[in-house]
Protein backbone atom coordinates (compact mmCIF):
# COMPACT_ATOMS: atom_id res chain seq x y z
CA UNK A 1 0.00 0.00 0.00
CA UNK A 2 1.64 3.27 -1.00
CA UNK A 3 1.91 5.65 1.93
CA UNK A 4 -0.44 8.51 2.00
CA UNK A 5 0.92 12.03 1.78
CA UNK A 6 0.77 13.32 5.30
CA UNK A 7 -1.19 16.49 5.92
CA UNK A 8 1.11 19.02 7.47
CA UNK A 9 1.15 22.66 8.30
CA UNK A 10 4.24 24.35 6.95
CA UNK A 11 5.21 27.85 6.10
CA UNK A 12 5.58 28.58 2.45
CA UNK A 13 9.27 28.87 1.57
CA UNK A 14 10.09 32.39 0.55
CA UNK A 15 11.07 32.78 -3.09
CA UNK A 16 14.55 34.03 -3.07
CA UNK A 17 17.68 33.01 -4.83
CA UNK A 18 20.09 30.94 -2.78
CA UNK A 19 23.51 32.37 -2.11
CA UNK A 20 26.42 31.22 -4.16
CA UNK A 21 27.77 27.92 -2.98
CA UNK A 22 31.08 27.86 -1.29
CA UNK A 23 33.97 26.36 -3.12
CA UNK A 24 35.96 23.58 -1.49
CA UNK A 25 36.57 24.67 2.11
CA UNK A 26 40.03 25.35 3.44
CA UNK A 27 41.63 22.84 5.73
CA UNK A 28 40.62 22.98 9.35
CA UNK A 29 44.22 23.54 10.40
CA UNK A 30 44.49 26.64 8.22
CA UNK A 31 41.21 27.97 9.55
CA UNK A 32 42.39 27.49 13.13
CA UNK A 33 45.61 29.33 12.29
CA UNK A 34 43.57 32.18 10.86
CA UNK A 35 41.44 32.27 14.00
CA UNK A 36 44.52 33.09 16.05
CA UNK A 37 46.52 35.14 13.56
CA UNK A 38 44.01 36.87 11.32
CA UNK A 39 40.45 36.40 12.59
CA UNK A 40 39.10 39.14 10.34
CA UNK A 41 40.23 37.18 7.29
CA UNK A 42 38.66 34.02 8.70
CA UNK A 43 35.26 35.66 9.08
CA UNK A 44 35.54 37.10 5.56
CA UNK A 45 36.18 33.57 4.30
CA UNK A 46 33.18 32.33 6.29
CA UNK A 47 30.81 34.88 4.73
CA UNK A 48 29.51 32.49 2.11
CA UNK A 49 28.94 29.89 4.82
CA UNK A 50 27.04 32.47 6.87
CA UNK A 51 25.02 33.32 3.75
CA UNK A 52 23.97 29.67 3.35
CA UNK A 53 22.97 29.34 7.00
CA UNK A 54 20.91 32.54 6.76
CA UNK A 55 19.33 31.31 3.54
CA UNK A 56 18.35 28.04 5.19
CA UNK A 57 16.70 29.93 8.02
CA UNK A 58 14.81 32.08 5.52
CA UNK A 59 13.69 28.86 3.85
CA UNK A 60 12.25 27.81 7.18
CA UNK A 61 10.27 31.03 7.26
CA UNK A 62 12.13 32.49 10.19
CA UNK A 63 13.04 35.70 8.33
CA UNK A 64 11.74 37.45 5.23
CA UNK A 65 13.97 36.95 2.16
CA UNK A 66 14.48 40.69 1.87
CA UNK A 67 16.52 40.64 5.05
CA UNK A 68 19.11 38.22 3.76
CA UNK A 69 21.86 40.76 3.19
CA UNK A 70 21.29 42.58 6.47
CA UNK A 71 21.25 39.31 8.38
CA UNK A 72 24.51 38.16 6.85
CA UNK A 73 26.00 41.50 7.82
CA UNK A 74 24.61 41.30 11.36
CA UNK A 75 25.93 37.78 11.90
CA UNK A 76 29.34 38.73 10.48
CA UNK A 77 29.62 41.68 12.85
CA UNK A 78 28.51 39.51 15.77
CA UNK A 79 31.08 36.83 14.95
CA UNK A 80 33.82 39.44 14.80
CA UNK A 81 32.76 40.65 18.22
CA UNK A 82 32.81 37.09 19.50
CA UNK A 83 36.33 36.27 18.31
CA UNK A 84 37.80 36.18 21.86
CA UNK A 85 34.93 33.93 22.99
CA UNK A 86 35.44 31.67 19.98
CA UNK A 87 39.16 31.42 20.70
CA UNK A 88 38.44 30.47 24.29
CA UNK A 89 35.54 28.13 23.55
CA UNK A 90 36.97 26.18 20.64
CA UNK A 91 39.05 23.30 21.96
CA UNK A 92 39.87 21.74 18.61
CA UNK A 93 37.65 18.66 18.74
CA UNK A 94 35.10 19.63 16.10
CA UNK A 95 35.74 21.32 12.79
CA UNK A 96 36.07 25.05 13.36
CA UNK A 97 33.53 25.86 10.65
CA UNK A 98 30.90 23.61 12.29
CA UNK A 99 31.59 25.31 15.60
CA UNK A 100 31.33 28.80 14.09
CA UNK A 101 28.13 27.84 12.24
CA UNK A 102 26.68 26.70 15.59
CA UNK A 103 27.39 30.17 16.96
CA UNK A 104 25.90 31.77 13.83
CA UNK A 105 22.73 29.68 14.26
CA UNK A 106 22.48 30.76 17.91
CA UNK A 107 22.86 34.40 16.86
CA UNK A 108 20.16 34.04 14.21
CA UNK A 109 17.82 32.28 16.63
CA UNK A 110 18.19 35.17 19.08
CA UNK A 111 17.49 37.66 16.30
CA UNK A 112 14.42 35.68 15.22
CA UNK A 113 13.07 35.56 18.76
CA UNK A 114 13.65 39.30 19.16
CA UNK A 115 11.90 40.09 15.89
CA UNK A 116 8.90 37.95 16.70
CA UNK A 117 8.42 39.64 20.04
CA UNK A 118 9.00 43.20 18.97
CA UNK A 119 7.44 43.31 15.50
CA UNK A 120 4.50 41.04 16.05
CA UNK A 121 3.93 41.76 19.68
CA UNK A 122 3.66 38.09 20.49
CA UNK A 123 4.24 36.72 23.96
CA UNK A 124 7.42 34.76 24.52
CA UNK A 125 7.20 31.17 23.49
CA UNK A 126 4.50 31.72 20.87
CA UNK A 127 5.95 30.48 17.63
CA UNK A 128 3.64 32.79 15.69
CA UNK A 129 3.35 30.70 12.57
CA UNK A 130 0.60 30.78 10.06
CA UNK A 131 -1.00 27.42 9.57
CA UNK A 132 -1.87 26.94 5.95
CA UNK A 133 -2.78 23.30 5.48
CA UNK A 134 -0.77 22.00 2.63
CA UNK A 135 -0.39 18.63 1.03
CA UNK A 136 3.25 17.81 1.06
CA UNK A 137 4.85 17.31 -2.29
CA UNK A 138 6.87 14.16 -2.73
CA UNK A 139 10.09 16.14 -2.44
CA UNK A 140 9.00 17.53 0.92
CA UNK A 141 8.19 14.05 2.18
CA UNK A 142 11.71 12.95 1.32
CA UNK A 143 13.00 15.88 3.34
CA UNK A 144 11.02 14.68 6.37
CA UNK A 145 11.94 11.06 5.81
CA UNK A 146 15.54 12.14 5.93
CA UNK A 147 14.87 14.20 9.01
CA UNK A 148 13.29 11.21 10.73
CA UNK A 149 16.35 9.13 9.91
CA UNK A 150 18.53 11.74 11.57
CA UNK A 151 16.24 11.96 14.57
CA UNK A 152 16.67 8.25 15.18
CA UNK A 153 20.42 8.90 15.40
CA UNK A 154 19.75 11.22 18.29
CA UNK A 155 18.91 8.26 20.53
CA UNK A 156 22.33 6.64 20.44
CA UNK A 157 21.88 5.06 23.82
CA UNK A 158 18.91 2.90 22.85
CA UNK A 159 18.37 3.29 19.11
CA UNK A 160 18.26 -0.47 18.37
CA UNK A 161 15.54 -0.97 21.00
CA UNK A 162 13.62 2.05 19.74
CA UNK A 163 13.65 0.77 16.17
CA UNK A 164 12.39 -2.69 17.18
CA UNK A 165 9.61 -1.33 19.36
CA UNK A 166 8.54 1.32 16.82
CA UNK A 167 8.49 -1.19 14.00
CA UNK A 168 6.36 -3.57 16.05
CA UNK A 169 4.14 -0.68 17.12
CA UNK A 170 3.59 0.46 13.52
CA UNK A 171 3.63 -3.10 12.18
CA UNK A 172 6.54 -2.48 9.86
CA UNK A 173 8.38 -5.69 9.02
CA UNK A 174 11.43 -6.08 11.26
CA UNK A 175 14.69 -7.16 9.75
CA UNK A 176 16.49 -9.99 11.51
CA UNK A 177 19.68 -7.95 11.70
CA UNK A 178 17.84 -5.12 13.43
CA UNK A 179 16.67 -7.61 16.00
CA UNK A 180 20.17 -9.06 16.48
CA UNK A 181 21.62 -5.62 16.94
CA UNK A 182 19.25 -4.94 19.79
CA UNK A 183 19.26 -8.40 21.38
CA UNK A 184 22.12 -10.55 20.09
CA UNK A 185 21.29 -13.50 22.39
CA UNK A 186 17.63 -13.59 21.45
CA UNK A 187 16.47 -17.22 21.38
CA UNK A 188 14.90 -18.49 18.13
CA UNK A 189 11.44 -18.71 19.65
CA UNK A 190 11.41 -15.07 20.79
CA UNK A 191 13.01 -13.98 17.54
CA UNK A 192 10.32 -15.67 15.43
CA UNK A 193 7.67 -14.28 17.74
CA UNK A 194 8.95 -10.70 17.33
CA UNK A 195 9.35 -10.99 13.58
CA UNK A 196 5.77 -12.28 13.39
CA UNK A 197 4.49 -9.53 15.69
CA UNK A 198 5.94 -6.82 13.43
CA UNK A 199 4.13 -8.36 10.48
CA UNK A 200 0.65 -8.67 11.98
CA UNK A 201 -2.08 -6.23 11.04
CA UNK A 202 -3.56 -3.90 13.61
CA UNK A 203 -6.88 -5.58 13.05
CA UNK A 204 -5.43 -8.89 14.14
CA UNK A 205 -3.76 -7.70 17.32
CA UNK A 206 -4.79 -4.75 19.51
CA UNK A 207 -2.11 -2.42 20.89
CA UNK A 208 -2.58 -3.69 24.42
CA UNK A 209 -2.03 -7.25 23.27
CA UNK A 210 1.00 -6.22 21.25
CA UNK A 211 2.73 -4.70 24.30
CA UNK A 212 1.74 -7.67 26.43
CA UNK A 213 3.49 -9.94 23.93
CA UNK A 214 6.48 -7.60 23.53
CA UNK A 215 7.16 -6.83 27.21
CA UNK A 216 8.56 -10.25 28.27
CA UNK A 217 11.07 -10.23 25.42
CA UNK A 218 12.16 -6.66 26.24
CA UNK A 219 12.49 -7.80 29.86
CA UNK A 220 14.69 -10.73 28.79
CA UNK A 221 16.89 -8.48 26.69
CA UNK A 222 17.34 -5.96 29.50
CA UNK A 223 17.58 -8.50 32.31
CA UNK A 224 14.78 -6.93 34.33
CA UNK A 225 11.05 -7.18 34.71
CA UNK A 226 9.20 -5.02 32.18
CA UNK A 227 5.42 -4.77 32.26
CA UNK A 228 3.29 -4.17 29.19
CA UNK A 229 2.14 -0.87 30.63
CA UNK A 230 5.68 0.36 31.28
CA UNK A 231 6.68 -0.50 27.74
CA UNK A 232 3.60 1.20 26.31
CA UNK A 233 4.35 4.41 28.28
CA UNK A 234 8.00 4.33 27.25
CA UNK A 235 6.96 3.98 23.60
CA UNK A 236 4.39 6.78 23.88
CA UNK A 237 7.02 9.12 25.33
CA UNK A 238 9.48 8.33 22.60
CA UNK A 239 6.90 8.83 19.86
CA UNK A 240 5.88 12.18 21.35
CA UNK A 241 9.51 13.27 21.48
CA UNK A 242 10.15 12.19 17.90
CA UNK A 243 7.08 14.11 16.75
CA UNK A 244 8.22 17.27 18.51
CA UNK A 245 11.62 16.99 16.89
CA UNK A 246 10.10 16.21 13.53
CA UNK A 247 7.69 19.14 13.57
CA UNK A 248 10.34 21.55 14.85
CA UNK A 249 10.40 24.28 17.44
CA UNK A 250 8.71 26.53 16.50
CA UNK A 251 6.61 23.91 14.65
CA UNK A 252 6.97 23.97 10.90
CA UNK A 253 4.89 20.86 10.26
CA UNK A 254 2.23 18.89 12.08
CA UNK A 255 2.98 15.25 11.79
CA UNK A 256 1.00 13.10 14.17
CA UNK A 257 1.27 9.54 15.45
CA UNK A 258 -0.36 8.13 12.40
CA UNK A 259 1.64 10.04 9.80
CA UNK A 260 4.82 9.26 11.74
CA UNK A 261 4.16 5.59 11.01
CA UNK A 262 3.95 6.35 7.31
CA UNK A 263 7.22 8.28 7.38
CA UNK A 264 8.85 5.42 9.29
CA UNK A 265 7.66 2.96 6.68
CA UNK A 266 9.10 5.11 3.91
CA UNK A 267 12.35 5.43 5.78
CA UNK A 268 12.45 1.69 6.24
CA UNK A 269 11.89 1.13 2.51
CA UNK A 270 14.54 3.66 1.46
CA UNK A 271 17.13 2.73 4.02
CA UNK A 272 16.52 -0.95 4.68
CA UNK A 273 17.82 -1.40 8.20
CA UNK A 274 17.21 1.50 10.55
CA UNK A 275 19.68 0.49 13.21
CA UNK A 276 22.76 1.18 11.10
Amino acid sequence: MPPRKPKTHIRTPSPASPPEEESRPASNRREVELLHQNPGQLIVEYRSMIGIVVWNMIQRGMFPPSEHKELVQAVTVKLLQLIPTIRRGYDGRSLLRTYVSAIAVNTLNRLARGQRRSERGLPPGDPGIEDPALDLADHDIQVYVRRLGRILHLFPDYRPKLVVVLKCHYRIALEERELRQWYPKCDPFSRDHLLALSRTQTTELAHGELFAALAPIVGEAEGRRVSADTLRKWTDHRIAEILRLLNGNPPRSSFDRKTLGELLERLSISQGELTI
Binding site: N28, F155, P156, Y158
Partner: protein
Protein backbone atom coordinates in the same frame (compact mmCIF):
# COMPACT_ATOMS: atom_id res chain seq x y z
CA UNK B 1 18.48 18.43 32.21
CA UNK B 2 21.54 20.42 33.30
CA UNK B 3 24.99 20.47 31.68
CA UNK B 4 23.74 20.71 28.15
CA UNK B 5 26.13 20.26 25.29
CA UNK B 6 28.51 23.14 24.68
CA UNK B 7 28.66 24.70 21.22
CA UNK B 8 31.79 22.66 20.55
CA UNK B 9 30.14 19.39 21.59
CA UNK B 10 27.14 20.28 19.49
CA UNK B 11 29.43 20.87 16.52
CA UNK B 12 31.20 17.59 17.24
CA UNK B 13 27.89 15.71 17.20
CA UNK B 14 27.00 17.33 13.87
CA UNK B 15 30.40 16.37 12.46
CA UNK B 16 29.79 12.80 13.69
CA UNK B 17 26.41 12.57 11.97
CA UNK B 18 27.78 13.95 8.73
CA UNK B 19 30.66 11.49 8.80
CA UNK B 20 28.38 8.70 10.01
CA UNK B 21 30.61 8.18 13.02
CA UNK B 22 28.18 8.86 15.86
CA UNK B 23 29.13 5.66 17.76
CA UNK B 24 32.66 7.06 18.12
CA UNK B 25 31.45 10.10 20.03
CA UNK B 26 32.46 10.42 23.69
CA UNK B 27 30.10 8.40 25.89
CA UNK B 28 29.05 11.43 27.91
CA UNK B 29 27.84 13.24 24.80
CA UNK B 30 25.96 10.19 23.53
CA UNK B 31 24.32 9.60 26.87
CA UNK B 32 23.31 13.22 27.27
CA UNK B 33 21.82 13.56 23.80
CA UNK B 34 19.90 10.31 24.27
CA UNK B 35 18.16 11.81 27.28
CA UNK B 36 17.94 15.50 26.42
CA UNK B 37 15.31 16.66 23.98
CA UNK B 38 16.63 20.21 23.87
CA UNK B 39 20.08 19.08 22.77
CA UNK B 40 18.52 16.75 20.20
CA UNK B 41 16.68 19.75 18.80
CA UNK B 42 19.85 21.83 18.65
CA UNK B 43 21.87 19.10 16.97
CA UNK B 44 19.12 18.53 14.43
CA UNK B 45 18.74 22.22 13.70
CA UNK B 46 22.46 22.81 13.27
CA UNK B 47 22.73 19.72 11.09
CA UNK B 48 19.96 20.89 8.81
CA UNK B 49 20.98 24.53 8.66
CA UNK B 50 24.49 23.59 7.64
CA UNK B 51 23.34 20.78 5.40
CA UNK B 52 24.19 22.49 2.15
CA UNK B 53 27.61 23.66 3.28
CA UNK B 54 30.45 21.99 1.43
CA UNK B 55 32.23 19.51 3.62
CA UNK B 56 35.78 18.40 3.14
CA UNK B 57 35.54 14.69 3.89
CA UNK B 58 39.09 13.99 2.68
CA UNK B 59 40.66 15.97 5.44
CA UNK B 60 41.27 14.03 8.67
CA UNK B 61 38.86 15.10 11.38
CA UNK B 62 40.51 16.67 14.45
CA UNK B 63 38.66 14.31 16.81
CA UNK B 64 37.61 11.19 14.91
CA UNK B 65 40.88 10.86 13.00
CA UNK B 66 43.15 11.95 15.79
CA UNK B 67 46.32 9.94 16.13
CA UNK B 68 46.63 8.39 19.54
CA UNK B 69 50.31 7.63 20.07
CA UNK B 70 50.99 4.95 22.63
CA UNK B 71 53.55 5.88 25.28
CA UNK B 72 57.14 4.91 24.41
CA UNK B 73 58.61 1.67 25.77
CA UNK B 74 61.13 3.51 27.94
CA UNK B 75 58.38 5.53 29.54
CA UNK B 76 56.30 2.44 30.15
CA UNK B 77 59.27 0.75 31.87
CA UNK B 78 59.99 3.86 33.94
CA UNK B 79 56.38 4.05 35.02
CA UNK B 80 56.37 0.37 35.99
CA UNK B 81 59.54 0.76 38.09
CA UNK B 82 58.14 3.88 39.75
CA UNK B 83 54.87 2.10 40.45
CA UNK B 84 56.70 -0.90 41.96
CA UNK B 85 58.79 1.39 44.19
CA UNK B 86 55.70 3.26 45.27
CA UNK B 87 54.01 -0.02 46.19
CA UNK B 88 57.04 -1.22 48.20
CA UNK B 89 57.36 2.10 50.05
CA UNK B 90 53.62 2.20 50.65
CA UNK B 91 53.59 -1.33 52.05
CA UNK B 92 56.57 -0.54 54.28
CA UNK B 93 54.89 2.56 55.61
CA UNK B 94 51.66 0.68 56.24
CA UNK B 95 53.56 -2.11 57.99
CA UNK B 96 55.42 0.37 60.21
CA UNK B 97 52.25 2.23 61.13
CA UNK B 98 50.29 -0.94 61.85
CA UNK B 99 53.05 -2.72 63.85
CA UNK B 100 52.12 -2.24 67.53
CA UNK B 101 55.54 -3.50 68.75
CA UNK B 102 57.58 -1.12 66.66
CA UNK B 103 57.74 1.57 69.30
CA UNK B 104 58.44 -0.85 72.17
CA UNK B 105 61.30 -2.51 70.32
CA UNK B 106 63.25 0.71 70.23
CA UNK B 107 63.09 1.46 73.96
CA UNK B 108 65.20 -1.40 75.44
CA UNK B 109 67.99 -0.70 72.97
CA UNK B 110 68.24 2.93 73.99
CA UNK B 111 68.08 2.10 77.68
CA UNK B 112 70.76 -0.60 77.51
CA UNK B 113 73.11 1.78 75.76
CA UNK B 114 72.72 4.35 78.50
CA UNK B 115 73.15 1.73 81.23
CA UNK B 116 76.31 0.36 79.68
CA UNK B 117 77.83 3.78 79.41
CA UNK B 118 77.00 4.64 82.99
CA UNK B 119 78.35 1.35 84.31
CA UNK B 120 81.63 1.66 82.48
CA UNK B 121 82.14 5.17 83.72
CA UNK B 122 81.26 4.44 87.34
CA UNK B 123 82.90 1.06 87.78
CA UNK B 124 86.30 1.96 86.31
CA UNK B 125 88.91 2.34 89.12
CA UNK B 126 90.34 5.82 89.30
CA UNK B 127 93.99 4.74 89.23
CA UNK B 128 93.67 2.66 86.13
CA UNK B 129 90.86 4.55 84.55
CA UNK B 130 90.68 3.89 80.87
CA UNK B 131 89.76 6.56 78.46
CA UNK B 132 86.05 6.56 77.54
CA UNK B 133 86.90 5.14 74.13
CA UNK B 134 89.13 2.35 72.95
CA UNK B 135 92.87 3.02 72.71
CA UNK B 136 94.28 4.42 69.58
CA UNK B 137 95.83 1.87 67.33
CA UNK B 138 97.40 2.47 64.00
CA UNK B 139 95.57 -0.27 62.25
CA UNK B 140 91.97 0.33 63.19
CA UNK B 141 89.48 1.56 65.73
CA UNK B 142 87.75 4.82 66.07
CA UNK B 143 90.02 7.58 64.77
CA UNK B 144 88.50 10.19 67.09
CA UNK B 145 89.24 8.02 70.14
CA UNK B 146 92.93 8.17 69.37
CA UNK B 147 92.98 11.89 70.00
CA UNK B 148 91.23 11.83 73.37
CA UNK B 149 93.47 13.18 76.16
CA UNK B 150 94.83 10.81 78.79
CA UNK B 151 93.41 11.70 82.18
CA UNK B 152 96.61 10.49 83.90
CA UNK B 153 99.17 12.28 81.77
CA UNK B 154 97.32 15.36 80.64
CA UNK B 155 97.61 17.06 84.01
CA UNK B 156 101.39 16.59 83.99
CA UNK B 157 101.96 18.29 80.67
CA UNK B 158 103.75 21.59 81.28
CA UNK B 159 103.44 21.33 85.03
CA UNK B 160 106.44 22.34 87.20
CA UNK B 161 107.95 19.12 88.39
CA UNK B 162 110.07 18.30 91.32
CA UNK B 163 113.09 18.45 89.06
CA UNK B 164 112.58 22.19 88.75
CA UNK B 165 111.63 24.66 86.12
CA UNK B 166 114.80 24.18 84.19
CA UNK B 167 113.42 21.23 82.22
CA UNK B 168 112.40 22.18 78.70
CA UNK B 169 111.62 20.05 75.75
CA UNK B 170 111.08 20.01 72.10
CA UNK B 171 108.83 19.47 70.24
CA UNK B 172 106.61 21.91 72.07
CA UNK B 173 103.52 20.57 73.72
CA UNK B 174 100.69 19.97 71.27
CA UNK B 175 102.83 20.09 68.13
CA UNK B 176 101.52 18.23 65.14
CA UNK B 177 104.24 16.01 63.76
CA UNK B 178 104.96 13.48 61.11
CA UNK B 179 107.79 11.19 60.07
CA UNK B 180 110.98 10.82 62.18
CA UNK B 181 110.59 12.94 65.28
CA UNK B 182 113.41 14.70 66.96
CA UNK B 183 113.14 15.09 70.71
CA UNK B 184 115.42 17.42 72.68
CA UNK B 185 115.30 18.42 76.29
CA UNK B 186 117.28 20.46 78.69
CA UNK B 187 117.39 19.80 82.39
CA UNK B 188 119.62 20.37 85.38
CA UNK B 189 119.57 16.67 86.15
CA UNK B 190 122.50 14.66 84.87
CA UNK B 191 121.97 11.64 82.63
CA UNK B 192 121.45 8.98 81.82
CA UNK B 193 117.93 9.75 80.70
CA UNK B 194 115.05 7.39 80.18
CA UNK B 195 112.76 8.58 77.44
CA UNK B 196 109.33 7.01 76.94
CA UNK B 197 106.67 7.66 74.33
CA UNK B 198 103.11 6.71 75.33
CA UNK B 199 99.85 6.76 73.49
CA UNK B 200 96.73 8.42 74.88
CA UNK B 201 95.81 5.27 76.76
CA UNK B 202 99.11 5.36 78.69
CA UNK B 203 100.55 2.41 76.79
CA UNK B 204 104.27 2.77 76.17
CA UNK B 205 104.95 2.58 72.46
CA UNK B 206 108.64 3.41 72.70
CA UNK B 207 111.14 3.41 75.57
CA UNK B 208 114.87 3.90 75.66
CA UNK B 209 117.76 5.00 77.91
CA UNK B 210 120.44 7.29 76.62
CA UNK B 211 123.13 9.65 77.86
CA UNK B 212 122.50 12.41 75.35
CA UNK B 213 119.73 14.92 75.69
CA UNK B 214 118.61 14.37 72.11
CA UNK B 215 116.80 11.52 70.40
CA UNK B 216 115.35 10.89 66.97
CA UNK B 217 112.43 8.50 66.83
CA UNK B 218 112.26 6.64 63.54
CA UNK B 219 109.45 4.33 64.60
CA UNK B 220 106.39 5.05 62.57
CA UNK B 221 103.49 6.10 64.77
CA UNK B 222 99.87 5.90 63.84
CA UNK B 223 97.71 8.95 63.93
CA UNK B 224 96.75 10.03 67.44
CA UNK B 225 97.71 11.87 70.53
CA UNK B 226 100.97 10.85 72.16
CA UNK B 227 102.79 11.77 75.32
CA UNK B 228 106.50 11.62 75.95
CA UNK B 229 108.33 11.85 79.22
CA UNK B 230 111.95 12.08 80.39
CA UNK B 231 113.07 10.51 83.64
CA UNK B 232 116.51 11.07 85.11
CA UNK B 233 117.92 9.75 88.42
CA UNK B 234 114.58 8.15 89.18
CA UNK B 235 112.80 11.47 88.92
CA UNK B 236 110.36 12.64 86.31
CA UNK B 237 111.92 15.55 84.52
CA UNK B 238 109.52 16.37 81.78
CA UNK B 239 106.11 15.41 80.34
CA UNK B 240 104.94 16.75 77.04
CA UNK B 241 102.67 15.70 74.21
CA UNK B 242 102.44 15.75 70.44
CA UNK B 243 100.02 14.77 67.74
CA UNK B 244 100.63 12.61 64.74
CA UNK B 245 98.43 13.53 61.82
CA UNK B 246 97.59 10.55 59.70
CA UNK B 247 96.84 12.70 56.68
CA UNK B 248 100.36 14.00 56.35
CA UNK B 249 103.29 12.11 54.89
CA UNK B 250 105.73 10.62 57.41
CA UNK B 251 108.80 12.37 56.09
CA UNK B 252 108.94 15.68 57.90
CA UNK B 253 110.66 16.64 61.01
CA UNK B 254 109.14 17.56 64.32
CA UNK B 255 108.51 21.22 64.70
Amino acid sequence: MSNHLSSEELALYVDAMRLDRAPELPGRIQLHVSRCEQCKEEVLELLELTDTLPYNTEEPHPYFDRVITPPSRAWVTAWRVAAALAVVIGLGAIGYLLDPLGEKRLEPRAVSFIEDSARSADEAPLATREPAVSPASPDGGDMAARFVESPNLEDLVGMPLRSGPSAMGSPPAGAVLEGPIEFTWRTTAPGPFRVSVLDNTDHVVFDTALAASRMILHQRLGPGLYYWKVVAGGRLQLVSKFLVDGHRTATGRGS
